[in-house]
């Protein structure tokens, strides 16, 4: 009964046991999340894992129970029937929140064999002063069955915007990947960009795609002389370059400079103006190699090419990459320590996770356990050696 009473109380974001969202995302412990869902709904979600259909469920965390939440399969390339990534919307059916949150995400870590890249990346982003979601790890149980280790992270929504920017009335877009698109100008028609490339997450009824179109016109067509001033009107350039420095440091091959074109970003345009900022999204394919080329594909991306043609910004970018290296550290540095901490938290649960995958897909658990250990070892190696490698490459580039 005590659980139930508390569960009802969290509807109003206040619980008798004094838990907060900070506790929910605390990275000090491995959390347990329990979801109760009708077995037929779960089977339907698994069978139709490519759909975004919501199903009613109950979520339990510690002593808190929140009923009537909506869950659906999530992810792009990481969508799986065996171990679905989940989006949990607390307000799907009710005007309710859970510890002040409207939604949380449960990443299935199937593309991240060491299961901690996303969380490590978010730590570095925050260290660099950039917005990044709070992330931690959790064991997920669905109808009592252990589904494995998931990354629990907060949603990029209005509450997130308020937390970082003290405002939420601007325009938040989620970038939709299109093969080989690298910020080219596609004409003045706003519908060429919104919602096909920039999907509105706020202000959906008036997404103001014309501002996006104008920004891309400036990126592509402004003269070299006008470009530095003109682009500043639409983009917080220094924040963008810091973001790119972080992506370069963590060897992100599925980000803005990916081989296949721009991917994995949010863009937030602040209220009361045209200026916006690129935000963190999905870094579970980062840490792609200690020797991964710094600023790989930068020359192919229109925006990066033009920014780097401005000497001051190029210098700033290089400085930010060096700063990332300094913050991440080498042996016993920030990332090395975090790998050790996270490994200690999740190792036992990860080894018991029979649904985790190997690099060649679904595999016996003894193989995936070996792969998990290998990848953790690789991440430890990355944490210790990447800084020197990045500095070395920068030296060659200059």
């Amino acid at each position: 009964m005590g659980r139930r009473i508390c569960g009802l109380a969290v509807v109003f974001a206040a619980c008798a046991f004094g838990q907060t969202a900070e506790d929910f995302f605390s990275d000090k412990v491995l959390h347990d999340i329990r979801i109760t869902i009708h077995p037929k709904d779960w089977n339907a979600l698994v069978e139709n894992y490519l759909d975004n259909t919501y199903y009613p469920a109950t979520l339990e965390w510690r002593d808190l129970v929140i009923e009537n939440v909506g869950i659906r399969s999530k992810g792009r390339t990481s969508r799986r029937a065996t171990k679905p990534g989940l989006r949990v919307d607390f307000n799907r059916y009710e005007e309710q929140e859970f510890l002040g949150l409207k939604a949380v995400l449960l990443d299935n870590n199937v593309s991240d064999f060491g299961m901690m890249r996303e969380r490590l990346a978010s730590i570095l982003w925050r260290e660099m002063g950039l917005p990044a979601p709070r992330e931690t790890h959790a064991r997920l149980f669905v109808n009592g069955k252990y589904m494995g280790v998931y990354t629990l992270l907060e949603d990029t929504d209005k509450r997130y915007l308020r937390q970082w920017f003290k405002e939420d009335s601007g325009w938040l877009y989620e970038f939709v990947h299109r093969d080989s698109y690298r910020f080219e100008y596609l004409g003045s028609d706003p519908e060429a960009y919104v919602p096909v490339l920039f999907k509105p997450e706020t202000n959906e009824s008036h997404p103001e795609g014309e501002v996006i179109a104008e920004m891309l016109r400036v990126i592509n067509q402004s003269s070299d002389q006008d470009f530095p001033k003109a682009i500043e009107e639409y983009l917080d350039v220094k924040a963008f370059l810091t973001h790119m420095a972080a992506e370069s440091y963590v060897a992100e091959w599925d980000g803005i400079l990916s081989d296949a074109g721009v991917n994995n970003l949010y863009f937030y345009r602040f209220s009361g103006g045209k200026r916006g900022m690129v935000l963190f999204k999905d870094k579970d394919l980062s840490f792609n190699g200690i020797e991964y080329e710094v600023l790989k594909n930068a020359g192919n991306n229109v925006l990066m090419r033009r920014l780097m043609a401005v000497p001051d910004w190029k210098a700033f970018l290089y400085d930010e990459i060096r700063r990332a290296a300094a913050l991440a550290g080498a042996t016993d540095g920030l990332l090395d320590q975090q790998v050790q901490v996270i490994y200690g938290q999740i190792r036992e649960a990860a080894l018991a996770d029979e649904l985790k995958e190997c690099s060649n897909g679904v595999c016996p658990v003894y193989e995936s356990n070996a792969e998990f250990e290998r990848h953790v070892e690789f991440l430890r190696d990355f944490a210790r050696k990447r800084a020197d490698e990045v500095v070395r490459q920068l030296g060659l580039m200059q």
């Binding site: 009802l8 509807v11 109760t36 869902i37 009708h38 077995p39 037929k40 709904d41 009613p56 469920a57 109950t58 009923e67 009537n68 909506g70 059916y93 009710e94 005007e95």
Partner: protein, 427 residues
């Protein structure tokens, strides 16, 4: 509008007044004529082919053109012209004992075949009908679209009554003037109205019973007063297939929930048509079981769908409602029906969706034990003009208030107005 209906519409408008002939005169003439035993064609209200008294084939057609606007607008594009019905039918009798009807709706792809049945009539008390036709439930649902006093049926008839299905039914009437009528039947499924969004039938093995009576049939003023009751029961397979709530504007305000077990309907109806007035009312209650539909597979309280309507009409031009207002062939060409009949109508109604108990926190999920109640309460104000027996024009203004704005067509907006205008041509 496609060319064919446009042409038909034009021809109708042009021809109808020219066919003017006083109906009373026509009747008198018909009475003077000896019974014709041969093969012949007749055009009175509609074209008819007759062979002696053993075969009768009536050709029927109905066209309804609607103009709809909404405030606030819930669909893109604003006002909408819609050929709601383009229906062709044949009906008639064969060998005195058999009646039949075959009708097809040309403007619909979901359920294009409407009534397709044969009826064996031993006498007026013992008749058997087989085929596809309306499950006997709800006087509003059983009223043909040509004769509706409002453009749209009541919400309860539209959403809770089953409509047509394939099956068999015994029916008949007793006492003088058919003062007591019965209908009892079995149907394979649970009617077109209970189909899901993909038009799959959601119920099976429906048993239906309806009784109506005129307890004061020998009283002059109250002779038309009719009371009735109906019950039906269908099996409902497990799934997201409950009945759902839709507004007059065809917007969903209560989505399906998971059900499993049986669907039971009970209904009560009232009708009285003294002189130029009509007063009708109906109550329908539907109970759908939700066996094993809780998150932990526990049984959930039944889903309850209930509603009522009351409406009144007044033919301000004075014609007798019970005899029908769609009479006469002329219009502006003389005779006592030269201006047709003008009728005012008003309807109050409510439909509500909730669970059988209200224990626990109410919720909108499809598996909530305590379903958060919502309802649609509506007022419809109408004007009907019966130009003659073929042409009818209607205007309806409906105000709908949705209790739960969260599930409203425009989230957060409770109040909706729907303005509908209809021109109807029927043979």
């Amino acid at each position: 509008m496609t060319p064919l209906p446009r042409i038909l519409l034009g021809v109708f408008m042009a021809v109808a007044p020219l066919l003017a002939q006083d109906t009373e005169q026509e009747k008198e003439q018909a009475e003077k004529e000896p019974a014709n035993k041969g093969v012949r064609s007749v055009w009175k209200k509609h074209p008819s082919f007759r062979a002696g008294d053993w075969l009768r084939v009536d050709f029927r057609a109905r066209f309804q053109l609607d103009w709809i606007t909404r405030d606030p607008e819930t669909k893109p594009g604003g006002g909408l012209f819609d050929f709601t019905r383009k229906r062709l039918a044949i009906e008639g009798t064969f060998l005195r004992w058999f009646e039949y009807e075959v009708s097809r709706e040309l403007s619909e792809t979901d359920f294009p075949w409407k009534d397709v049945y044969g009826n064996f009539k031993l006498n007026r008390s013992v008749q058997v009908r087989g085929g596809r036709f309306r499950i006997p439930f709800s006087q509003d649902q059983l009223t043909g679209p040509t004769n509706l006093d409002f453009i749209d049926r009541s919400r309860i008839a539209d959403r809770l009554a089953p409509n047509r299905d394939t099956g068999a039914m015994a029916h008949g009437s007793f006492f003088e003037g058919g003062a007591l009528k019965y209908q009892a039947g079995y149907f394979f499924n649970d009617g077109d109205n209970a189909a899901d969004r993909n038009n799959n039938r959601t119920g099976e093995n429906t048993a239906a019973l309806r009784l109506t009576g005129r307890p004061l049939s020998k009283s002059g003023l109250f002779g038309s007063l009719t009371l009735g009751g109906a019950f039906n029961r269908a099996g409902v397979p497990e799934g997201l297939v409950s009945l759902r709530g839709r507004t007059t504007g065809k917007e969903t305000f209560f989505s399906e929930v998971f059900v499993n077990g049986t669907r039971m309907r009970t209904g009560a109806e009232f009708s009285w048509t003294p002189g130029p007035f009509a007063l009708k009312a109906e109550f329908i209650s539907v109970r759908e079981q939700r066996l094993g539909q809780g998150l932990r597979q526990e049984d959930l309280p039944d889903l309850l769908e209930r509603g009522w309507y009351v409406y009144g009409t007044w033919a301000i031009t004075g014609q007798n409602k019970a005899r029908g207002l769609a009479r006469g062939r002329g219009w502006l060409l003389g005779g006592k029906n030269r201006f047709g009949a003008l009728e005012l109508a008003v309807r109050a109604e409510s439909i509500r969706f909730a669970s059988d108990t209200n224990a626990g926190r109410p919720s909108r999920t499809q598996r909530a034990a305590n379903i958060l109640q919502t309802s649609d309460r509506a007022w419809t104000f109408g004007v009907n003009w019966y130009a003659n027996q073929w042409v009818k024009a209607q205007a309806n203004f409906t105000r709908e208030y949705l209790e739960d704005a969260f599930r409203a067509p425009i989230q957060g907006v409770n109040l909706y107005w729907v303005y509908k205008y209809r021109l109807q041509l029927s043979l």
